[in-house]
Structure formats: C-alpha cells, structure tokens
Subunit: 129 residues, 6 copies
C-alpha cells in the first residue's frame, strides 16, 4: 500500500531518529530504500532496525560471514532486493568474486540436495539425533 519512500526531509522526528542511527552506525549519507518504505510503519521501522543492528554486529561470527548468510537465505527465497543489498554489503565487508562464486555454489547445491532428501524421504540418521 505504501508506494513511495519517505525521505528524511518529510520524516517525523521518530523516523528521523532511526534514520540518524542507521547513518551513524553504517557511516552512510542516506538510508537505503528498505528503511524509507518501512518508515510508513514507525514501530516496525524502529524494531527492525534495532534487531538488525543487534544481530549483524560482529560477535562469534564476523560481519562478512553474516552478510554471506544473509545472501544465501535471500537467494534461496528469491528476494531480489535483499540479494542486491546484502551482496553489496558482503562485498564491502571483503567478499571477493571467488568467495561469491563459492557461496552461490553452496547455495545451489543445498537447494538441490534439500529436494533430493524430500523426494527420497531420507530418514535422519541416528547419529544426528
């Protein structure tokens, strides 16, 4: 339903506060479209940013690994926006073209064997619990 992005100049103080935190955290001049569309629902904007910020902060996994996992899920689901934005983020975090190639190879193979398992109705080995 919301079909236009909400730009900073048109945003409420509540929305601007989130935009400001995104820009500061990511060191960017403007937020990307995802946030400008979510801004139609300030509660979802705030909660989603807060969750992503917490989840994507390097911890036991580094930023690059997390971005590649994001790309893997998005490619499986066919979300073009998310593939484009998180491939860009992974690249910024150090993903080389060779790494992207291997990432996609694993994603492709996993999607293939997931369905072979389904079709052959393979039972979980006792060893895997």
């Amino acid at each position: 339903m919301p079909r236009t992005p909400i730009e900073y100049r048109d945003a409420s103080p509540e929305v601007r506060a989130v935009y400001d935190d995104i820009k500061r955290t990511r060191q960017v001049d403007d937020v990307n479209n995802f946030w400008k569309y979510l801004a139609h629902d300030p509660a979802t904007l705030r909660r989603t940013w807060s969750s992503i910020k917490e989840i994507m902060t390097p911890g036991a996994l580094d930023a690059l690994t997390k971005e590649m996992i994001y790309v893997a899920v998005s490619a499986s689901n066919g979300c073009e926006y998310c593939i484009a934005s998180h491939t860009a983020a992974a690249r910024k975090a150090g993903m080389s073209e060779a790494m992207f190639g291997e990432l996609m190879a694993v994603v492709g193979m996993a999607n293939e064997t997931n369905r072979l398992v389904n079709g052959y109705r393979v039972p979980v080995d006792a060893a895997y619990g």
Copy 2:
C-alpha cells in the same frame, strides 16, 4: 519409491566405489542415509557426490563457512535431514554454540526482512545496480 537404504554389502561395484570415496574423503566408517537412498539411482549418486566433493572443498571459503551456509539454506527450506546432518558437519568443523546461535539469528532475520521487502514492494536502490 525407494524406501530402504542400500547397505554396502548389497551395493553394486559402481555404488561401492562412490561409498568408498566418501568414506576415504570424510574419514568415516560408513556413509550416511542420504547416500544410501540416492544409491537407488547410481548416476545421481555419483554426480551428486562428485559435485558436493568439489563444492565443499575449502577454497576461497573455509569448510566451516560452507557448512554454515548449507545450514542457513536448509533451515530456510525446512529440510530437517539437511539441517541435522549439516549442523553436525558444521559442529565438527568448529562451529560453537554461540556461532550456531548467531547463524540462526541471521537466518531468522533474513527470512523476516525478505518478506517485509516483498510486502512493501521495495524497489532496488540505484546504488545496488
């Protein structure tokens, strides 16, 4: 249709050759159910093992990262067998419980934002090409 695993003792020489290569490559005593069911179609068994062996060999990405990507895809697709087997493989390759927790957090968040993007019909930013 094939509803029983093909054990080594009952396997054809062609199938045994694949089982032997899996056991040697992975240093295990027996192959897991996935291969024992695929063995009903020796051509698919051979091709799938050959592809997985090539793809999962450490290259630009290490073994642990590749196994975690496999888990990410399998969790998105809801393939229980693949979640169980590749979580075990990732653990063997060094995944700690903290790493698993962060992996699942990213997988969950990516699945959420993929659908927010769909629902809000967010157009790809010019910067992402």
Copy 3:
C-alpha cells in the same frame, strides 16, 4: 507461453461468460490481467474463478480478513502480482495503513520464527497434539 492478455472483444463466448460474471460480481468495468492470461486455458479460467468466488465470499470470515490472509501468503511466497492485486482488494475492503503495517509485521515475524523452529528442531509440545 501465452504472452498476451485476451481482451473481451477477442474472447470466445465461454471466456466472455466468465468475464461477465467477474465484472458483475465485483462491480468492475473490466477484468484484471490475471483473468486475461488465464483465458488461454478456458477450463482453468472457469474453474479458478468459480473457486475464488466461492472461497472469497464472506462467511465465517469477512472479506477484509480473507484479503489480508491472501496478502500474507503472497508476501511469504514473493508473488508480486498477487501482493499488488490483493493489497488493493484489501484496501478497498477497508484495510487502513495501520492495519497493513500490522499485517506485514506479523508476516515478517512468522517467517522469522518458522525458520528458528526449523533450525533448532523444536518438537511439537504434547499440549498441541
């Protein structure tokens, strides 16, 4: 394969009869693209319209709730056409922007927790049967 819509003026009597019923039922001047493409297979056109007409008629659930459920499924599946058309229908049936925001928030969260459940392999509680 069918790459062009079949307009009323070019339609067979069988197809026109369905178009007429859609226009009468929905009080619209023309049918939307979905029907004009399905018309390449008159049997599927007729059966799909007949099913949708029966299913979307208000019953135990009202029209708005049904349209929002349609949007929820379409956003999960990433079907842009269906998201666009059923969001428009939901809006016509009374969906406010606040309702759309909450709808999308639930869709996003459900997609997230579905995968957390998969990854953690959570068994169904006895209480849920």
Copy 4:
C-alpha cells in the same frame, strides 16, 4: 484444528457423496487420509475433489505425466504427505524406478539453477520475451 479423520460411517450424507465418487472414480475401497481430514470442511472437500478430478483426468497430458508433475512440486515444497501419496499414484500409473530417479534428478537440478539465477540476478534473454 481438526485432528482426527472422519470415517465413512461417521460422515454426513454430503461428505459420503464425495467419498463415494472418489472410490468409484479411483476404484478404491476407501479414501485416503487427505479426504478424511478435509471432510471437516465439506465445502472445501467437495470443491477440492471436483477440481482434482477435472485436472487429473488424462487430456493433453497423460495420467503418469500429471502425477510426476505433482511429485515434482511436492518435493520442491517439502510436503511429505503429498510426496508419498503422489509417488504411489505415479507408480500405479506406470512410473518405473528409473523414471523416478530421473524425475528427482530434474527436480534437484531445477531447484539448484533457480537459485543460481536468483543469486547472479540473470536477466531474461530477449529471445524468451
């Protein structure tokens, strides 16, 4: 919510009429669980049977091809019940083990290349329209 099958002896006349038509059409002694659970909603039972009967009748495609397509979709979606029941139906319609093996090989490959296409964001060739 409905957690028990509705057996013929406990079914309403409306439900029995559908069961009778399924048994007659398929030449079986009893209907399978799918119908016994759908019977909690007689309108959906009737409509679904009527659609399946129309769709699965041999036409431009024969019964075996239709059942294999059903298996292909169900394996992609991970619906175990549907994989089991439609694999049985395909077998009954003449699917050999070699055919099942090739069916699964195509399903696996299609699922792989679908995601490679997503990840590489391959644009549709002009030749495909």
Copy 5:
C-alpha cells in the same frame, strides 16, 4: 545443535526473566518448547519474545486476526510446530472450526493462484501501480 529444552529450574536468571514475562503476559503455567529451545541463545530468546509481544498485542488488528495470519504463513511454509502452536492460539482467541476451514481455503487458493501467476508471467495491472 541444542537438542534439549532448557527448563525453568535449569535456566539462568536472564532466561528466567523472559520465561516469567511470557508466563505473566500469556497467563500460562509454563512456556512452550519454542522458548525452551531458543533459550540456548539468551539474546535471541529475549529479542524474539520482545518482538512477538509487541507485534501480537491487539492494535489495528485484533488478536484472532493476527493468529490466523500467523497460521496462514506457517501453513504456506510448512512449519508444523508453528501451525500447531498458532492454530491452538487462534482457537483460544475465538477461531471456530468454520473459520479455520475458510482460513485454510484462502491459504490453499492463494498458493494456487500465486503459481498460476508465475507460470503465465502475468504483468501487474497499471491500476495496481
């Protein structure tokens, strides 16, 4: 990897605080398995509960509608745990068997037409923007 639920008596103070808030909010004696498995990652447990609590609180949409949307997504994705738990929650919030039947009918139809749209490559009507 975490294959056992974490019961209240074995939980850390951080985890117990979340369990207590769930029990208080939902007026239940114990939390369901989902939370007991997520508890292996206290940060995800806390964040997920906080998000769900915020999202599922009645607002522009009532509790029943939200639970039915949750079921719709979970049925599309094939997450059995989520189908079972949210069907129970919807029932508790007032979903009758007739409402469940209509909910499933819409979910089924949406999944069907989503794929008809894909296969026929139906372009979005200008009217839908």
Copy 6:
C-alpha cells in the same frame, strides 16, 4: 556481484570450451544469459553444464517431460528466468498450448493441496509407507 554477461569474444579458453559444447549440443548460435553470468565462476559453469547435460538427456523420461518438470519446479519457486527459458525449451520439444495449460493446472493444484495438507496436519496413510 557479477553484473554483466561474459560474451564469447571476452571469454577465457576454459569458458569458451563450455560455450562451444553447449552450442554444439543444443544446436544454437549463442548461449543464453544463464551461462554468460555463471561464467564469472568457471568451475560452477563447467560443473552445472555437465550436470544439466547428463540430466536432461532423454532416458527413461523424454526431453519434453523433463522440460515440463523443470517448468513445474520453477513456477513453484517463482524463478521468472527459469520459467521463461524452460517454457521456451518445452515448447521447442513439442509442448502445445493445451499441454502448457494442463501443466499449470497441475502445478497450481499441487501447490494448493500441499498447503491444505500442512494446515490440516494430515498423517501419511499406512498404505504409503
């Protein structure tokens, strides 16, 4: 990341060898975009072509049936590129418009009943094993 096709004139000898084999096998003057994008990862290009060539060769199933199965999976997954290219291939292999219509009808119905089965949580009949 790779956002441009690699044309024959710019390709390495390794990539040209694959392009040449595709052109010879399929009797076409140029390869389609899928291969030109995969060429950014020559190992994946070679392996994917080798697998597809083996899998799509007529065997227990003929070429037309295999292409229709490919379309069925791609329509379920919503991969527009794959729907377009494999619909074209199926048509070339003899798929009439009536066959396409029945193919899509089965795909639609399978996607619907897969979700009815999920929602009603239908247990596999003993007869299906």
